[in-house]
Amino acid sequence: MSRDKRDPDDGRVSGVVDESFNTSEYRALRLLFRDESREALERVAHLLLRAGPDRIDPDALTELLRATHSLKGTAGTVGLRDFADAAHRLEGVLERLRAGALAWTAAVRDSIVEVVDGLRALADAAEDEIEAAELAKNLGRALAAVSAGGQARAPLPDPVDPDSSIPDMDPDGAGGVPSPRHPTDSGVHRSGRRDEPAQLRVDPARIDRLMDSVGELIFDRTRIERRATELRGSLEQLALLRDAMFASAEASADVALRSLVRELSDRVGKLERLAGELLEDTGALRRTGNALQDGLTDIRMQSSRSLFQRLAPQVRALARAAGVPVRLITQGGETEFDKSVADQIVEPLIHLLRNAVAHGIEPPEVRRALGKPPEGQITLSARHEGRSVVIELADDGAGVDPRVVRQRLVASGRWTDSRAKMASDDEILRALFDARVSSREEVDELAGRGIGLDAVRDTVVRLGGEIAVSSTLGIGTSFTMRLPQTTSISNALLFKVAGHVFAIPNVHVVDTARVEVSSPAIPSLLRVRDGAVPLVLLHRLLGAPLPADARSVPAVVIDYASRRLAVTCDKIVGPREIVVKDLGPLLSPLPLYAGGTISGSGKVQLILDPAALVRLAYPETAAPGRTAGRVLVADDSRAVREAMALLLERAGYQVDLADSGLAAWRLLGRAHYDALVTDLEMPEMGGFELIQRVRGDALLSALPVVIISSRATPAARARAASLGVVEVLAKPVEPDRLLAALEPS
């Protein structure tokens, strides 16, 4: 056992850990950290706001210290040096407060609140280095102020998301409204507001990110369902085999064989039960996932009023530009629908409004001559019909003359004379949505309708809706859109292979590149910006030839579960927001597809599952038995657990994770482990209690144990030594030292 080189409590974070993970791993770990730290910082803010202006409860101060210290260790582990340094300095201030070297005043408290806000902003901005640097600078000033006893008020660091900060900070310091996430954990309420339900204002971007995660969850669920079904299939085969074996073994005189086969038979029976239960569990997962999606969609619901409010100024501007007085009447402002549907539909609506103003509404003098009021009227209404939202946009303008459209269709050679004659007026009007018709200006001018109705229809179709037009000459035109009330939109990169468009979820796309394909042999690795990645010929997988004359083709670089690969294609179409559709029970078992989506022109496009592509690029992970050993990691910070898992898996270990001492204890009873890596402070059961239990267990008593802790005090070290712990490592853990500690001596 080697002595720790560093003073365990001098937690200044060295640069050692920065090289531990690659960029995307850091990104993932930091996202975990962001969520974790948000919770911890909220608790800290809550404690601060509950403290009075002239004294703080010593227990609260201890709790503050503990939380800060633990955040420091975790931040260091995920490589957030600025955060860890700031937390370290804050810890110093809190230590001084505890020792009485610094007096607790309202100014000090407010400065600490600012520091905590700064830490929160810094955690949120972890992905944006420039912003993070700026925030760290502000934070430095706030820390300097608090060290100076809160005298010089530092400028407030800009929180990334002001809406997410603690609402209603109490200026007189008498107490705070508890954080909305824990509405019942404190009786402190401001008088007069007691009965108001707590409202939470959230940046829609956050909900969108959650929605993306739910989208991923649904992809994952589909995959699990598929594997569970596969498993059951294999087991059915196995059961047949077992029955055959059972029959012949029972007939045999070999007693040992008979008992072996009986045992085997029992085990297979158990597996079958488990597989059945697993399938039931995936059903539960499906229900929960759907409930989560519905809940989030519900949060995203907004009223049509806000949509109308975005459109009103547009109408005024358009009317001014066209020199036509127009009145906009809106109806059904209380109709609610999904914000993402609303966002998508704004442009098409502006387009229709522009057309109505520019081509529909006649000039005032014409209207007077026709006996119409001089001011044109556009009515925009929204209403629910079943699970759809119907948006209607009607003007009282000149209307579309089907005869003119009919003439133009024939004159331009788009339609034959007989087809145009046979067609009803409705069919003729529908032809306006046809790209080849509506994009022709002469048709537009004559027909009194603008360009680009095809684009409007595409958007509506892509959202899974329908659009219809009706018009009466001299009376006006009305467009009716029927849209789904909700939709699950996610971002994807679209590309073409052999004339068909495929999609890959954008979160898994890191880059695009080009592949030389002129030589007969195509290399198995593709050089990209930061190294080389395996190259999968998607053409071959999809049964299509590489384009015969191409010297090079585009490739999409994908990162899935920290594994990178590139796939070939014919053409990158670009990123799009897509509405993900289920492929249904018939095609969902195909492991290559994660779903489908409908293009603007109504074609189905398949979404490829990156998990399937990764399997082509990487051989199956080493079978158990070939690993360096199986290690159990217990830590209540998910970021730390995941970081340790990455480190150890890379070194060849098979890793299991537990979020408490109790969870670790249960796992230890179920499987054989070669080592235990544990944190000390954990809920349910702390590290020392866990180690004591291990030492007291006949089977486990010799298990090598390594402690990772942000509280690696001399006392803790002494106790660890008495329990035969191999090594006590201070967080952030240096990978080499952890691996060295795990080496069998």
Binding site: S519, S524, L525, L546, G602, V604, A612
Partner: protein
């Protein structure tokens, strides 16, 4: 007596009971699905939902190998419990109430011209398609488990 739709698929005629049929529609763009079983000729957009297009000949084993489906074909939307699929066909012949053919075979009807028409059973048809899909998924899993990168042009 059974209420059925009689349809033509190539030269052959089949009947399917109306209770299974939700709609008759014209197929738009057909997207092929690489590695899908022959029974599935592709997927189509049916009012915003992705619908598999079932090839009856392939399901019944009358023909092996996929046959490209085209836009403009007619299809029946059939629904059996939670499974909905489109059945491609050449044309709808009639909607009629037909009696069973003499001889007691309940799966054989007689149409208005006295011609015998086999009765399709959608539950059985979709169960077969499902089996074919599971087999195709197994095949694909094998393809995917063989690591492959790069290769000959």
């Amino acid at each position: 007596m059974k209420n059925v739709i009689v349809f033509a698929l190539g030269q052959a005629r089949y009947a399917v009971e109306l209770r299974w049929v939700r709609e008759v529609f014209t197929v738009g763009h057909v997207t092929p699905v690489p590695h899908a079983p022959d029974a599935v000729a592709g997927v189509v957009n049916f009012r915003g939902a992705v619908m598999p297009l079932i090839d009856l000949d392939a399901v019944l084993g009358r023909r092996s190998g996929a046959q490209a489906a085209r836009a403009g074909e007619t299809a029946l939307l059939i629904e059996v419990e939670e499974l909905t699929a489109a059945l491609r066909l050449t044309s709808v012949v009639e909607v009629a109430t037909l009696r069973e053919a003499p001889g007691g075979d309940p799966e054989l009807l007689v149409d208005s011209t006295g011609r015998q028409v086999p009765l399709i059973q959608p539950p059985e048809l979709l169960a077969r398609a499902r089996q074919a899909a599971a087999a195709a998924a197994g095949q694909l899993a094998i393809v995917l488990s063989r690591p492959e990168t790069g290769g000959e042009r």
